[in-house]
Subunit: 371 residues, 2 copies
């Protein structure tokens, strides 16, 4: 099976095409102008999928007449004087606080740094705000402070401001951490979630699903021994490398909550295109495949904390892969699919068994509190 | 009783002077190079007093080799290109979420905007991160989103980026909110917590203690009916007015957790001076005095969310008061004390009854989760 099969329009059956187009129109309407009708907040609203999109797009964002926020990108671009800044914020509520490959402190730095990197901004400074639980051991806090300091050094960012609050026993799980990142936009970056064009190639920067599965296994709710390690790391070196492609790099997005599937759906809707993924080409470690099969979870929906999706012009795809494979953590970067024109706003998967299916946004929350 | 009584050195008794100097040296050592030796985090670590100072100064800040953070100012100043930015962050965990005069949404905007204003930076943009509790009513969230949008409009800031996480029932009290603020430093501002000089006058921008007492009474733990309303508001208009004083304005600091007493202690230590407060001149609403007396709380330690301390050169004090009284919310601005040289790092209060006492940092947490 080669990738060429998925380039351009592959819909020979008119009826299938018509049915998909109908679904696509309904989806696009729902995602672009979402209504929020739920009476109560549920865990699904935090999962990064459909419910999150309706909460953010239907309740939160409309209250703020903000062009930067309306873009719903990983980070906002804000001009101050002659400087274009990127600004992003994230709260971290991962459970457990420490897991193979990292901890909440690593995530708090890398997750925020990566949102800056994805809009083409060099991370400069972070703020750090703790909500601590009364009774948490000082050594637990000290370990996270050290993890944050270490990850910040590696990522080349300075912690410039902080805050600490304490809530009563039982009202936070050890700690919640909120980081906000400030970066300086790199003028080589011509990136936009609306920038996907038919013919573009879709890349992932490495093997997927490790972070989410590492967290699931660390909770020990399942009788499963495995050596899956979180992929948490700063993506700025990889993003910096890809920015060499200039205008041929159309979009980057890190595949965190909701996984690669969610990112591709968001981009397909934003750009009014369809993304066709060749399942067999998606790099996944055998241990992750095994754990996902046992738990009945599709790895395309599992969170990553050190992997991203990039969409590039067709002529730049091979160069992009070469650039990525030279960066630590991106050795298994791969072209996984293509952008087509029709229908709009869908993600289709050509499965390893030769079938084709729609890959929708995540519904519900099979993997709560993974970041 | 006039303020002149407190100008300059008022220590005629050599023994008293010697004893105070000894206490002052020990305090300064403890506050400048604090040790953190507690085994567990307690509510006191979130109260803004001594325990918070030891946690931040002894455990958190030393891990980050950051000049901006080491300053421990309300907001960090960071140069990006030719632009000097101010950056600050705060988590809000106030209980209850709504109270007379405001709500967690108002605090989340005003508290962060005010930290920018206090370093002389015009607030430009805010980020907004929610940790929501599973099961919270959507209308409760909607009310806070609306409060945030309203307060942001009044303060003239744009919400540019956001994040939403959900934790299980019982693991957050409805919601916690983290806001980070970006401002542009105003070049008229020559402010520093180390900028207090003997002879300077100490001002408060209005009557104190309203926010903390409004929260305490809203909890209905006490049988006390009162009409105390939180003073939450943006302080940028007042700060902007005072910046007209240029280099004669030495320092501003909003008197939030730990109240005016904590701010004065921090400034006295940072500048190696003593602040002498004339208790009778501190503006306090009668209802706040009454509630504080009934609950046995010193209003100087009660949090404000719309009042600040300013320290100005002696010749600028009257002009500062005139400027402040022209700003809504600052009508009762007053000179409350003076800066003296000796002993260093102390705050002394001349009481309304003619006595004198040391006003130390807050110990413990009589008013938990007021912001």
């Amino acid at each position: 099976m080669t990738s060429t099969r998925f380039t351009g329009a592959a819909f020979t059956d008119d009826r299938e095409r018509e049915a998909l187009a109908k679904i696509a129109r309904a989806r696009a309407t729902a995602l672009r102008a979402p209504h929020f009708r739920d009476e109560f907040i549920t865990m699904a609203h935090g999962a990064g999928g459909k419910a999150t999109a309706s909460l953010v797009g239907g309740l939160i964002a409309p209250a703020f007449a903000s062009a930067a926020l309306a873009a719903l990108d990983d980070a906002a671009l804000v001009d101050v004087g002659d400087v274009r800044l990127a600004i992003t914020t994230d709260s971290f509520v991962v459970k457990p606080l420490r897991f193979p490959g990292g901890s909440i402190g690593d995530l708090a730095v890398n997750g925020t740094v990566n949102d800056l990197a994805m809009v083409g901004a060099r991370p400069l400074a972070l703020t750090l705000s703790f909500v601590l639980e009364e009774g948490v051991a000082s050594d637990v806090l000290r370990a996270e402070v050290d993890a944050i300091a270490g990850a910040a050094r590696v990522a080349g960012v300075e912690i410039v401001a902080g805050d600490t609050k304490v809530v009563e026993r039982g009202h936070a799980d050890g700690m919640y951490v909120c980081t906000t990142g400030i970066g300086r936009w790199d003028s080589r970056a011509q990136l936009s979630p609306t920038g996907l064009r038919p013919g573009d190639r879709v890349l992932v920067s490495g093997s997927i699903g490790e972070h989410g599965m590492a967290i699931m296994l660390a909770r020990r709710e399942f009788e499963l021994d495995s050596e899956i390690v979180s992929d948490t790391r700063s993506l700025w070196p990889a993003a910096d490398a890809l920015l060499e492609l200039g205008a041929e790099l159309h979009c980057m997005r890190d595949a965190t909550r909701g996984g690669v599937a969610t990112v591709l759906n968001e981009l397909a809707v934003a750009s009014s295109v369809t993304v066709v993924v060749d399942e067999a080409r998606v790099p996944i470690q055998p241990a992750v495949v095994g754990a996902c099969e046992l738990l009945g979870i599709d790895p395309m929906y599992v969170a990553n904390e050190g992997k991203f999706v990039a969409v590039v012009a067709p002529q730049a795809a091979d160069r992009a892969i070469d650039l990525l494979r030279g960066i630590t953590g991106c050795e298994s970067a791969a072209i996984i699919g293509d952008v087509t024109a029709d229908p709009t706003g869908m993600v289709l998967v050509n499965t390893s068994f030769g079938g084709r299916r729609v890959m929708d946004l995540l519904v519900g929350d099979p993997l709560p509190r993974i970041c």
